[in-house]
Subunit: 381 residues, 2 copies
């Protein structure tokens, strides 16, 4: 951390602007469960207006967009959601320091939102204030309602209603990725496969047609299926095809006339939703032509765009080997806008939403240094 003196102020975030770990804790301690983000959004907006005169600040609901206008050749969006899943006795935050000082500190910050994703939000806020003249024009976005129904999502709202605010050549989402780059994301498709039959008393089963038995070839295919790994822009995306639900049956003495299996397909971002759907239709039709398939949910993936020079420069600046992101994240919203996007933030994503959510503080510090190095280095393009 720099030792620049910051004038004391009343706002808790202002005290912490020069210490990204303290800033994370301050953001965590302003609870912001989805739908209840206003206090935190107000605090972030307040700090930006007071301490970052180099940014144009736009408030949209509980989303904040803050942009430089330096006339750089390229613009990057750096975004993070400020809401969390419900608190469950895990606030306020608790810092366990193992040792060291300044940027060499190690330890763990515990509490709701430490992983998902106030560490990323703090890194963004510290750099938004600190870097008046980054190497690229930057659009910082803090947004609301990520942890709830997709139609409420603040980033989705901006993309729908004010897409010009998100225009950029590259996007970084501060979702937890263990402080490494996780590029793009797989798409996800959920379908219901329904087998039909004819009811009969199970004492005279031959009078009926068993719909549950009709699912046998589907289940057999799923059990034997070997998911592909597909390379997209230099990253290998591991796909998955899984039953996530199955149901059928009328009564203990009745041959059932309907059975349904719900399948979730996670597909590489090289395919569109339509392609993934057609692939499943062909696959299941080949083993069970009488089974009908209905799509219940679909979201396209996102290419990482790591083959672009801008992205490679980012990867070189933050270090490490970029990995593919398997879970679906809001990077896909950037993909829909034609903007390549990666995830880069502190925290282990498998701890997100758990009651003992916690982040190694060295990952917060590493992300702040990585982004700072990139944004203050030599630009490309």
């Amino acid at each position: 951390m720099t030792e620049t003196a910051v004038p004391a102020a009343d706002h808790p975030l202002e005290h912490a602007l020069d210490d990204v770990v303290a800033l994370t804790a301050a953001l965590v301690d302003i609870a912001s469960v989805s739908g209840d983000e206003r206090m935190l959004a107000d605090a972030i907006e307040h700090v930006l207006r007071l301490r970052a005169p180099h940014l144009e600040v736009v408030r949209d609901g509980d989303a904040i967009v803050a942009r430089t206008h330096l006339g750089r050749a390229q613009r990057v969006v750096i975004a993070g959601h400020i809401d969390t899943v419900p608190v469950n006795g895990n606030l306020p935050s608790r810092l366990e320091l193992d040792g060291g000082s300044g940027d060499a500190r190690t330890g763990t910050l515990h509490g709701r939102g430490t992983v998902d994703m106030k560490g990323g939000c703090a890194v963004m806020l510290a750099l938004a204030v600190a870097l008046a003249e980054p190497a690229y024009d930057v659009t910082w976005v803090w947004y609301d309602h990520e942890e709830v129904e997709a139609n409420l999502n603040g980033l989705g709202r901006l993309a729908r209603t004010r897409p010009e605010l998100l225009a950029a050549d590259f996007a970084i989402l501060g979702e937890p990725s263990n402080a490494g780059i996780e590029g793009g994301c797989n798409g996800t498709l959920r379908v219901e496969l329904t087998a039909t039959g004819r009811r009969a008393h199970s004492a005279r089963a031959w009078m009926g047609v068993n719909a549950i038995h009709g699912l046998a070839p589907v289940l057999d295919l799923l059990a034997r299926f070997e998911p592909l790994e597909i390379e997209v822009d230099g990253l290998r995306y591991r796909e998955g095809l899984n039953a996530v639900g199955i149901r059928g049956g009328v009564a203990g003495n009745v041959i059932p006339d309907e059975a349904v299996i719900t399948v979730n397909y996670r597909f590489a971002p090289s395919r569109s939703v339509a392609e993934a759907e057609q692939e499943l239709r062909d696959l299941f039709a080949s083993v069970a032509p009488a089974v009908t398939m209905t799509v219940t949910d679909a979201s396209g993936g996102a290419r990482p765009g790591l083959d672009a020079e801008l992205a490679q420069h980012f990867a070189a600046a933050v270090g490490g080997t970029p990995q593919p992101k398997f879970g679906w994240t809001d990077v896909a919203r950037f993909a829909e806008l034609g903007i390549p996007a990666v995830n880069y933030g502190p925290g282990d994503p498998s701890l997100a939403h758990t009651d003992d959510e916690r982040v190694p503080i060295e990952q917060i510090i590493a992300c702040e240094r990585g982004l700072r190095a990139w944004l203050t280095g030599e630009p490309v393009g």
Copy 2:
């Protein structure tokens, strides 16, 4: 029908004792949904005490046992339940006569209980009164609570608490069998097969173990399984092995850690419940050793005993070719007491419990004639 004059009496059953079709209608018109059998039981008991002095009548709850004591070499039990499933706008009964007169009448009697099984009860009641000196000692049994939970079953109660009342060499149950002999019954076994796994986010399916996929070999086996036909005492019992329920799933994005399939096995009466259970254990273990099997419900079958001379005599007297009974019926309770048993009654069992339950009256007449011929003919043994 005989033209014997019957003294007029106030009781509706008494008017009908010489016309088994009218008697069936009279029994049907005294509604007797399970738990509400008292009025009908009272009516039957009243008629027996008044008109059948040759019988010893015992009342047990709403069951009635009426026995001859003629010192015959052999005794047969002839039994039927007097309760029905709930009425659904299908009472009172309605008779559609096609033509003919007396025993040559044809037509259809509509209404709740016409099939299951007041036709059989009427045949029994007419003959119990009419035959003071049958060729075999006869134990007539009308019982309650057949259409509800097995532990309430009136025949089961008698077998448990007063088994001496049911002692016999052969048993006939008046359940609908299209006026032909349906011997014995298959046994039934219900088991739950549970596959377990390990939960994971479906975006990283390889971190988990999919329990639904774990059921694939079980479902595949069921779909491919070819049930046996097994000859028992001269009848061929068709078996069945069917999924009657399947369930599994946690959420649309979770690899499920448990999935359960419920299987109903209908097995020939040549096997015991224990043998049938072991057979299933071996079968499923051979394809899915990690799946656990739990028995949830088991009832043994009943051998028809049609190879016994007494039974063959009965078959010859009523005519037709005996068929196996596939559905489980209370004949199995006789089997448990060591008494071979067959089903013999008017009506199509596939119409039982339907709202348009109806019986061809010629089947009622045929059953009355068949039983009468046997019980008044030359005894064997």
